[in-house]
Symmetry: D2
């Protein structure tokens, strides 16, 4: 599964995915530049908007805009400096690309200024919002992050100790959330009691930080300290950090971070993503062998799995599809409304490589299948004799309510009762096979009940009461 095809299939206005990335730093003056660099390191988690909030010694100051981190901060003049702050990037989804949804979001109540960045999804946001609105609390957006923010403000206004106000707030909130929060000069990270989305604390060259993925610490010249525990609040201090616990459920880490979302060089909850993907590929080769000449990946998302498949099967790995790095975002000529199929110039087969070959084509996952259909055709047109599709995750058949924007069963090409042969026919492939759930679990290396497999099996670590939930961050 690759970014572009998702965007393309997304035209109808239906949101498809909702990755986000968060970071918090307490270092020394000039932290704004390193916050921005951190967001660039996490840019794969979101391309719609980027923002930072810094403490200038007196007040919180938010800078945010639409677009890539580089674009936003080439245009916005940051006229303040500080030694601590938070940052957020948001995934690009069609339709809802408006500045109002950019984060961090900000509010003030009494003596408190509050800023917040969120990766995840709150299951009972609408319920809480309705309750608050009935008391006259008004909202500027429909975002579930604003619900957390306003609720936290209420608890702070009650005169609670800041930590108590946070614990009280999170005791009401159910869902997946990795948060970075500033309350005046204090900087916090929070991970939900099921630890669904990733969040880690680390050392940087000049202080301490919190980030969605540990590569941030490494690339800022430091290293990971540890992942957040389930239900943990960590406050960054000048000498290190303090930890507070507010929940201790059994973890249910999102398997999709390992399969597709996270960077291969990240290590999440102790498992290196590249190694997991390679292992998936090896297990896939064992579970679903193919009689073929070459293994080629769908670049770049399927490369690690394909390498593993090659190792597991002994079939040579080779690059057979070239991806145009510059077709990263949709181009629309001002004078033309019709949007061309960008895939036509995004991927190109190497005829010399695939001609007359029996090809194993490996991707990390398949959601709707449109892209896979086109890629198989590309390979056929380039002369491949056979195309065997192998997929690095089990079939996705159920909606996600915990942070990934796959909300309806209808969109999935895999469905209960549809056979692999039917899928092969749909894709125009000679065969299609997916890694098994047990194979996936084995590759990740946790107990099965410590993973969220909701989109694979339809059972979720948190009761989903409101099936219309539709606000993600």
């Amino acid at each position: 599964m690759d970014i572009l095809p998702l965007e393309l299939e997304n035209i109808a206005g239906q949101k498809v995915s909702d990755k986000c990335g968060v970071v918090a730093l307490l270092e020394d003056s000039g932290v704004e530049y390193r916050l921005i660099q951190s967001l660039r390191i996490l840019q794969h988690r979101g391309q719609e908007s980027a923002g930072i909030c810094i403490y200038n010694g007196k007040n919180l100051k938010v800078y945010k805009g639409m677009g890539l981190v580089r674009e936003v901060f080439s245009q916005i003049k940051i006229d303040q400096t500080g030694d601590r702050g938070i940052g957020h990037i948001r995934y690009s989804t069609a339709g809802s690309s408006v500045i109002d949804n950019a984060q961090p979001i900000f509010s003030r109540v009494g003596k408190y200024e509050i800023a917040m960045g969120h990766n995840g999804e709150i299951v009972n946001a609408e319920e809480i919002r309705n309750e608050l609105e009935s008391k006259g609390y008004s909202f500027n957006t429909t975002s579930d992050t604003e619900v957390i923010l306003r609720l936290l403000a209420i608890n702070l206004a009650r005169g609670e100790d800041i930590i108590d106000a946070m614990k009280l707030t999170f005791s009401k909130i159910r869902g997946a959330y990795s948060l970075v929060i500033m309350i005046n000069e204090r900087v916090f990270g929070v991970r939900d009691p099921n630890a669904i989305r990733p969040l880690a604390i680390g050392k940087t060259k000049k202080g301490f930080g919190i980030a969605s993925e540990n590569v941030v610490f490494e690339q800022l010249g430091g290293k990971i300290i540890r992942d957040f525990y389930p239900g943990e609040i960590i406050e960054l201090t000048e000498n290190g950090y303090k930890s507070y616990r507010f929940g201790n459920e059994s973890p249910a880490h999102c398997m999709f971070e390992y399969v597709y979302f996270a960077r291969p060089d990240s290590t999440i909850d102790g498992r290196n993503v590249f190694e997991v993907r390679k292992k998936i590929g090896e297990i896939l080769a064992r579970e679903c062998p193919a009689d073929a000449d070459i293994v080629i990946p769908v670049p770049d998302s399927g490369r690690s799995h394909a390498l593993g498949y090659s190792i597991g099967s002994g079939i040579p790995f080779v690059e057979g599809l070239i991806k145009n790095r510059y077709v990263d975002r949709t181009f629309i000529m001002p004078t033309q409304n019709k949007r061309e199929d960008e895939l036509d110039i995004k991927l190109n087969p190497i005829k010399e490589v695939v001609q007359d070959k029996r090809v194993v084509l490996v991707d990390d996952s398949i959601v709707r299948g449109n892209t896979m259909r086109k890629i198989v055709k590309l390979l056929r047109d380039a002369g491949a004799k056979e195309v065997h599709v192998r997929v690095g995750s089990p079939p996705i058949k159920y909606p996600c309510y915990l942070g990934i924007d796959m909300k309806t069963k209808e969109q999935f090409v895999a469905k209960e009762g549809k056979s692999l042969d039917e899928l092969a026919k749909e894709f125009g492939a000679n065969s299609v096979a997916y890694v098994s759930i047990d194979g996936l679990v084995e590759a990740i290396g946790f107990e099965k009940n410590n993973l969220c497999l909701g989109c694979l099996i339809g059972k979720y670590p948190i009761p989903i009461t409101n099936l219309n939930a539709n606000n993600f961050t």
Copy 2:
């Protein structure tokens, strides 16, 4: 008094003025274009930001940005259409030029979506805000408009009838306010019980409208119906409008609208602005004669008063200063930090006109005096034999708390106890004279106690309890 010098003196970060303009229309589809045209007609009331909110048949949709109306709406793509909406423009002030302060502002509570645009200033905003914050209501900005918005939301959430909720809200609010409000598909205008800032209802070619100045109706092909009464809510309907009253104080119209703010072709509360200014000039000639050869205006703000002075005195009116239309906004070269004195290329004397002449130089008002000092020098350098400064308003000596950003006595060049001779010396002029308060009142044509003369006499129509009030709209 002219716009540019104010901006120039404004560098230290102190806000100087806070004019705004509002408009509401209920016409037929495509109202967004006519809202924008209305804002262009009112552009003199604010150049910092511009915004509109339209009802698309289902929801409210806000579009706003920084800059002139033309600039904002050349860049923003308006992707919805509607038959009703509101608009707002905000005055340009250094420092606070941030998108967060742009209006209309928006919030939702229960079944209501609310949008609001405000011209004026709330005296007890901080008091109300503190009270609300103590109950956990959090705020995104320090703007007094947000205080009105959140309070209205609370009253709406209580289940009040919409009109009752508005009345309840305004019963708590003290200050100057001309508001345009949308609550879902309903469109309202509100004027405070002292009718301090202007607001009128009128017919347009295709429906009905509300606007800060009646030129909007005329230029949209209609005409004024009448000015709002003090303490009146007017709701636009498809067939006309409905009126509700919530207060009935004695009016206290801001005299500065007549002297400087409003367009000369506007008629406010029954008085045409150009005629008032011309009359001021005539009275000024009678009260403060000068033995001189020519009358020249400070263009463009002093032109109407100067014409009156010429009529009243019999001294020929002539254009002696040419204003460069293109020096409307400060230009800063990217590579240069030093800001040159733009006045040097903004105004130029016609040597042939002023040489060896005794000149009466007429402007509408003087706030800090820096500009006047420079203009007198320009005329001297061009050969004027004498320069007699005549001012179309009495000396401004006291802060305004009701919508004009003059907050400290220190900024004013006129002060209690400073003589006209001292002022003449400061300006380098042969004489300085101001129209009297009685003369001003006579020219406007209201009873003295029906005008707000706060900045002239230090007494205000509304008790000013919080002297630190500093949020204007």
Copy 3:
């Protein structure tokens, strides 16, 4: 005649006017900023594009772009500095608004780098171009300025002395031209032998300069030295300037500079523009009296003439039309193709002023008449009892081939054989009258044969051989 209506009538793609402005400075380091300020002072002469060329001590460096001076140089980073340079602004015309036409234009030949800015029009440009092209000299544009540039390059390449090469070049060129030229570090101004377009040399605070209008020198802290003689080359030097003559025809100054183009505070060839316009008004009052109550100008272009008319006639001058300063350029919403009539919000009558009045409406000139028709209607609708149109120039009936983009007779509302009554009917006015040619000549104060009156009488100071000439600068 005002700028906007011209633009509006211009949609069909026909160029209407072709004013330009030029400047040259030799001062001290940092001249680029003062070149830009000079262009802002001359901005009324062109709004399409702006550019400067500076000598960085080694090479010429050109910076130019589309739009107002402020817009262009807010975006372009000037990465070099110098003590001398030239600048140019170009008039805004629909259709040909392309960066290729922006000036200064640049070329290099042998050891010479050449940059050039031009105000005027060459009559035999096509002839020379054809001759050069037949020898293989290729051109990047259709501009007549490029013809001068390439011809000068050829003469320089022949090894001629620079001054001789220039004289040789101008001996072949016929038409109206005020040029600023750099050849490596040397800075020149050139005025054609008929001195048709204005050009003056002056002192600035820090050196010497050349400019289309003398206000540049005054606003840069200096003063005019003198206007260029007909057929004169002036070279700026570190201590002053050197003059070379290459022609000595009888002058034929363009009357339209006095009537409309130049700033009122400029003095061209010894005549102050404001005084000329006022005098025209006085003569107009004498020649074409009207039985009326008030004189009102079409703002801003008719103001000086109207003041003169009021003085000459004794009828009171009053402002009866208000011009919206912000409707300076056409606004097109991205989502809307239809261009609204901007005049609807550009000019507004003051009803209180004109109601029941017999009005003398004064403008400087009438070209096509569309705008005049609309203004008369505005005044009628506002209640004017009578409208008498008085025009500060004789009827324009013939094309201009010497720098003003009026190329066909068909566009003019005034025509041979059309009576004033017919015109009055067309405009909806009670009467129409123009100043006489003799009146105009008297007001300007030159001998009749020292003025170019081509557009009034159809006879030109230079034989017009090629009636299809269509490249202006």
Copy 4:
């Protein structure tokens, strides 16, 4: 060798590389969109500027701007349409990034409009320019493309037949050039007599085209017909194409296209680029074995070679360095002058992969060595036990004068007389080895004398007379 490091090392202002891409199409109406898509397909050949020229049925019309194809054509409104045209993209180099250098360039002479796009470098451009300038032909730029354009114009003006004029022109030009040319409605491609830079003709879905790389045809729904012969002019016609020969030297194809420049999925002069690179890797493994645990590529440029090395050596291929796709262009915060080392966040090792491993690190080539030094350090810091650098091209020791911007010997890390041990020490590697020249030639598959190996051996297919040549396209 990867793009970014080159840019980074480039700060001193020295141009580093000068790839360009050209395309020509004759299809049906709306060709402008497909020209733009073609440039996006060739975007890897240049990121500085992009431009197209189309024939609108009457005239040539050029559209061009600075930046990526997507950026340029999101901003430029293309207001004409046509059925034929040419396009060009230019490589990003610091310093010379000015719009004047963007192509296609345009000129007109007599009845001809000429547009031209160029990939290559002319050896005798300065010589020809001097000769032309001595005859008064003036130039707007220092580009060697303008020399070809002006010379062609001279030959066309002589009344020559168009093909003859072209032949005459190319008979004077020495160097590397792949050109696309329009002369009025006629569309041509030209390849120099040594066929140094690539150029091919192909079929598209709707017509015929010419392009730097054949992937253009495939991705526009067609396929390659053949590569241009040495010294061939091809004219596109409505039914196909016509060929004219003007030279027939022995080919001397640039080896660097195979090693680094071209897309892996392109096939140039009959050799598929990916296959050549893989073969190089295999030969490199044979020539320079290493006792190691894993082979990892420098992504993305070294991937194909690394795969080949793995195949050749039997050492497992694995991804050990992750490249951040979003760090594609240098980011400079407006408030910060210091440019951070972008490599720090561009590449990241996977600790789990390289720890305690003996690593073979494969890249395509090494120019200055700075990047290689940093990468070796990254791997060491991540725990690699040994790092053996293997390079997919022989040492680059000599300047290129035929289209690649490597102009001085001083810049190269490899030098005559420096041993591999010294290099290993400089890089901090355990060993360094390069493929041999014979190995490279074998992998490409041409006779050695049919390749240009100038930068490897210091002998060039064309006599280099002017060693100061410094204008590339």
